[in-house]
């Protein structure tokens, strides 16, 4: 099992005591599997994704990646995990504004110490970014920026891609196009994908889907 979330609980401090967001969520994902996570706004999808990435710590429950409880890894271990095994794609593009497109694309791979020029060139071309490599993020459109974020995530050949509404900022046609590119690249690298989305249509394109409702997985 590549990713296992086991009975995850999380609350945030609210005005009237801690407000529970996740109330015992469990799910698992095998290598090469793709899974869509849907649910209404505020249901805790992003929170769950952040837990899976080790960006936030659950109040209760375990997150296992490749069988290892990430709580046991410590900050350094989790950072290494994020660098080498995971890629996160956010709704906002999370690019480094002071680096050009080529540097942004290569960034995580370089950070992980496994740059693969041939693969990177291929990713760049597949995402249609060849002409833009010398530009800076602020000179790109929203769809282009999101393609750079996807390229950066896949250039490192991760085991697991975690995507949080990667096309939430794009119109439907453009969103479909970007998702297609992403699914192709994920399939090619053999990575697993956990994708949060609002759209039933997009969710249908993934291998399986789960619905989150009031902090729990709905049947």
């Amino acid at each position: 099992m590549l990713l296992e979330l086991d009975d995850i609980h999380k609350s945030y401090p609210g005005d009237a005591g801690p407000a529970p967001v996740l109330r015992g969520v469990s799910l698992s994902l095998e290598a090469g599997q793709t899974l869509a996570l849907t649910g209404e706004s505020g249901s805790g999808k992003s929170t769950l994704l952040h837990m899976a990435a080790g960006l936030e710590v659950p109040d209760r429950g375990r997150v296992l990646i490749g069988g290892t409880d990430i709580a046991s890894l410590g900050d350094l271990g989790r950072a290494e995990m994020r660098r080498t095994r995971l890629s996160v794609i956010f709704q906002q593009f999370n690019l480094i504004p002071s680096l050009d497109v080529a540097a942004n694309l290569a960034f995580q791979a370089r950070l992980a110490g496994r740059e693969d020029h041939a693969w990177q060139t291929q990713v760049t071309r597949r995402l249609g970014l060849d002409e833009h490599t010398a530009k800076y993020p602020e000179q790109l459109s929203g769809g282009q920026q999101q393609r750079v974020a996807i390229g950066r995530a896949l250039a490192v050949r991760p085991d697991l891609v975690l995507a949080d509404e990667p096309t939430g900022n794009l119109d439907e046609a453009l969103g479909d196009e970007v998702i297609t590119l992403m699914l192709d690249l994920v399939a090619e690298t053999g990575a697993s994908l956990l994708m949060v989305t609002h759209s039933d249509r997009l969710a249908g394109r993934l291998g399986s889907r789960l619905h989150l409702s009031r902090g729990q997985i709905a049947a």
Binding site: H50, A53, L55, E56, D75, A79, L86, F90, F107, L111
Partner: protein, 801 residues
Amino acid sequence: MTRTALSALLSHWKRKPFQLLTFVLGLALATALWSGVQAINAEARSSYGRATDAVGGGAGEVIKAKNGGPMDAALYGALRRAGWRVSPIVEGWVSVEGGRVRLVGIDPFTAPQTAAAGAAIETGPSEFIAAPGRLLAAPATAARLRTSPDLPPVIDAPEIAPGIAFADIGVAQALLGLEGQLSRLIVVSDQTPALRSLNEISPDIERQAAGSAEDLARLTDSFHLNLTAFGLLSFAVGLFIVHGTVGLAFEQRRPVFRTLRTLGLPARRLIGLLVAELMVFALLAGIIGIGLGYLIAAALLPDVAATLRGLYGAPVEGQLTLRPIWWAAGLGIAILGTATAAGSSLWKIARMPILAPARPRAWAMASERALWAQGAAAIGLLAVALIAGTAGAGLVAGFLMLGALLIACALLLPLILAGALRLAQTAARQPLAQWFWADTRQQLPGLSLALMALLLALATNIGVGTMVSSFRLTFTGWLDQRLASELYVRAEDDAQAGRLLAYLTPRSEAVLPIWNVEIEIGGAPAELYGVADHPTYRENWPLLSALPDVWDRVADGSGALINEQLSRRDGYGPGDDVPLPGGALTVVGVYSDYGNPLAQVLISPEVLTARYPDVPRLNYGVRVSPDRADALADGLIRDVGLAEDNLTDQAALKAFSIDVFDRTFTVTGALNVLTLAVAGFAILTSLLTLATMRLPQLAPVWALGLTRARLARLELVRALVLATLTLVLAIPVGLLLAWVLLAVINVEAFGWRLPMHIFPRDWAILGALSLVAAGAASLWPAWRLARIAPSELIKVFANER
């Protein structure tokens, strides 16, 4: 990994060189402020040194004839051969238009490294020595000397104190008619031990401490202490600015930090990289800042010969020299300041959840909680100040009080401003005005460090200005009182005293005995003086408190006057009995005695001679009309054979001390400019940083129909409003500061208190300057806002989630 992450961090600066510039410049300016103040302090000190030099004829020890008269020049050779390291001096007066000028002949090769010797060497030794020789004098004195056709060519030497001229010893001997004679020999400080004793060489000479200027020197000690306090204050201003600058450098890059962490850069590595980056920048900025401070100080100070050589610390007397210790201290400030400033930011980054809001806005809107914490810290510091002020004793307590007070006031500033703005907001009726005040309040946290720096800069300027002006006013007034006699003479022995009295009595209005013995009061040394009953004292003596018939009671022998030092030390006041050898006397008055480290008691000369029949009767004050004083002094030297050193010319002494204060005024003026410029720069960088962060707040108002030009004008008004509020608060803080300097620190250090004088006109000037600084700082951000492309504003809406 490290290289990739570092290049990402540094790429930010490459894309935003202006932010890098403000970062390095902010650090550099803070360091410049510190090193500039050091340089200026040193210059103030050296000009005191020069003034006392001229009055006392140099520091250290001299060899003189026992009878006070001239010595045979051959003694010089004898002493040198015996291994003494001495340098010959001949002294006298030359009469020129507008009064006398003191002429000092020196041997430039053996003279100690004084300003005059330095200038002489610079003139060219051969020109200086060979007939007709050269005279060196301060420009104003030089102009007077040039009116006399009999004198050698005169060279302007700004580093020499006014009223005095230097020449080669041979030239001076000829001009003064003292061929083959010397006035004294300066003993060079590093003597080889085991010398032949002076007595073996000649029985008629003796070694003694130089200088009748010790009082002045002691007074200047107090001044130096206050200048040191100023140095520390400027350090605090610098720290605030560094803090703000470093904080900005972090906040601007928070989105990048967040991305790096999500992509798997460990927090420790990120912090390590940031520390390394900061240290490199701090070092670079420190070096720039020190050089800058030195050059600014040199440019702002008149008369300072600052050369590039001075940057390397080559000690040239009379020139501004950047000593290695300044380099060390300056770099220390830059690095230490950066470290303390970065400490809190780094701590925040280390503790921050990875996904904390990446928007720098979060920083600009410090929470209410933080504000209250700041208020609590301020109150804690005020308590510390209060305890140090009441329970503490000594200089350390005084400085602790000073520091705690200032930082507390700075911390309180944002709270007070927030309160004032809230009031304005509730009072506002118009929607635009309401928005303006609310928006100003929102910006306050982002500007508060810069405003605190402004507050400290203004308070420091007001405080030090008040201190210096009070010093000048009090001191010159006091000199008038204490040195009421036109001339002061000291006879070598009773025979000469007899001759002096015989000579002076028909030629002056009064000859007032000033006889004294050294006694002990309460186990500590004290001076007991006998002073005649004369209007000179009755009209002029600076009494702090007294019984009604004070002078009559001194005259009839039943009362004694004591100085402030004794009064403070042992707690005597008017009406108390002070124990004196031979019986206690009633204290009838207390007088101020600035600069005297000893307790002093004044009684009538009759009581003094009755109790001490052998008291030496050698010192006298001479009252004579001021225009005749010069001639009388000449006569005393020529006809009675009084040694030059035994004669004090009140006018000359006063001229020197006033010159010293005037130099200090220039110095503080220069400092005002410097500190305000730095505070203005801090405001500028804060405003520029806020400008980009504030677009989301401005865009809606713009969209609702306010023009960009209107918004820009409001930005300008806002800066001026905040600066004015800060100024209003700075005045009481500055006065408090002056009070601590004059009434606490000075009393702790020297045992006497300086009355505080207030100069509202100076505040007005300072206020105008600070408004100019704030206005200038906001001009550019406002202009940029007025010219911003509408698309930039529209982007705000597009990017909003």
